[in-house]
């Protein structure tokens, strides 16, 4: 069975500048600042002993007060997993760095989250709608999206 990595084990090995961006450990995920997302993801991917080289999925969540983006990482070689969580307080223009530079597979899911939740992924090669059509008004998975929007 795949083992969930211990939070302390990650914190211990994170470089100082990246560890300062870690906010908390909640619901089996490490909550981090968006500024250090790319740095921490690259570190987790390459660090010997962690080698979380496979991005399984990206999930966008509307938590009403803020948006949350969850990254589920797996190590295919070492058979363990770890979750990163990024919270975006700005509901009007939420922006988060894209991870397409590390995992090309992030491209589709980041577009999906942009389409349905309106979170912009900076650095994404083609940040546009994917399921809905150009000209569609609003982002329907937002909690404040209502009928007749």
């Amino acid at each position: 069975m795949t083992v969930g990595l211990d939070y302390n084990r990650i914190i211990d090995v994170l470089p100082e500048d990246l560890a300062s961006g870690a906010v908390a450990f909640e619901a089996h995920g490490l909550v981090i600042q968006p500024e250090v997302l790319t740095g921490i993801a690259a570190f987790l991917k390459t660090e010997p002993g962690l080698e979380l080289d496979y991005l399984c999925s990206i999930t966008g969540v509307d938590c009403t007060e803020y948006f949350e983006v969850d990254y589920l990482l797996y190590s295919l070689k070492l058979n363990h997993r770890f979750t990163l969580k990024v919270r975006l307080a700005d509901r009007s223009e939420p922006v988060i760095p894209s991870l397409t530079g590390l995992w090309l597979g992030a491209e589709l899911q980041e577009r999906e989250i942009y389409d349905l939740l309106g979170i912009t992924f900076s650095g994404h090669p083609e940040m546009k709608r994917i399921f809905l059509w150009e000209g569609f008004s609003g982002h329907p998975l937002r909690k404040d999206y209502g009928h007749g929007h």
Binding site: F131, L132, W133, F136, P140, Y145, H147, H149
Partner: protein
């Protein structure tokens, strides 16, 4: 000898006599029965009918379905078309991948607005005469997704629908009943009415 205004009673009697004699002389043998010239081979193979009946018979017994199935009602259609329910009984087992060959569109499934232009295009590519069966709740009205931002609330928003089959999904029996309704509808068509 022709009948004229100057003829007297005697001339009329003579004329009548000539007519009777001519008929009697020509009627030397019994006439054959009217259909006597038909051989048994012809009688067994020629059926008379109307153009309407013939065309409608051809159309209703070879409804070829366009394969443009958008969602889960498809599986009920697949079940209907395979051996247990055997749609081949109605000459419908030929599923067409090209709309140019198809007569019938069965709207098996939820239609999203993103897919709607393609479905409309496929319908327009089908040759006349053509029919549409709205299968299932989504096909009729959008079903449980009727209020959704992304779902077309009923195929009749974009296509003219001939028969509606309720159900979520309709069982194969219901689909067959709908097909039977459509066949009855086709029977009533007439080229004289331009339909």
């Amino acid at each position: 000898m022709e009948i004229g205004s100057g003829m007297n009673s005697r001339d009329l009697d003579l004329h009548e006599g000539h007519v009777i004699e001519d008929l009697r002389n020509s009627a030397v043998a019994g006439l054959p029965e009217p259909s006597g010239w038909l051989t048994e081979e012809i009688e067994r193979n020629i059926i008379t009918t109307t153009v309407d009946k013939f065309l409608n018979w051809g159309r209703k017994t070879s409804l070829w379905t366009e394969t443009s199935f958008t969602a889960c009602c498809t599986f009920e259609f697949i079940s209907t078309s395979s051996s247990r329910f055997d749609i081949a009984r109605f000459g419908m087992e030929v599923l067409r991948s090209s709309p140019r060959h198809a007569d019938l569109m069965i709207t098996a499934g939820t239609l999203t607005w993103k897919m709607a232009p393609q479905i409309k295009r496929v319908y327009e590519q089908m040759a006349e005469p053509k029919w549409v069966i709205a299968m299932g709740a989504c096909g009729i009205s959008g079903g449980i997704f009727a209020d959704s931002y992304s779902v077309v609330p009923g195929y009749n928003r974009i296509l003219p629908v001939d028969v509606y089959i309720p159900g979520c999904p309709p069982r194969p029996e219901a689909l067959l009943a709908g097909i039977e309704l459509l066949r009855k509808k086709i029977e009533k068509r007439s080229i004289a009415k331009g339909s």
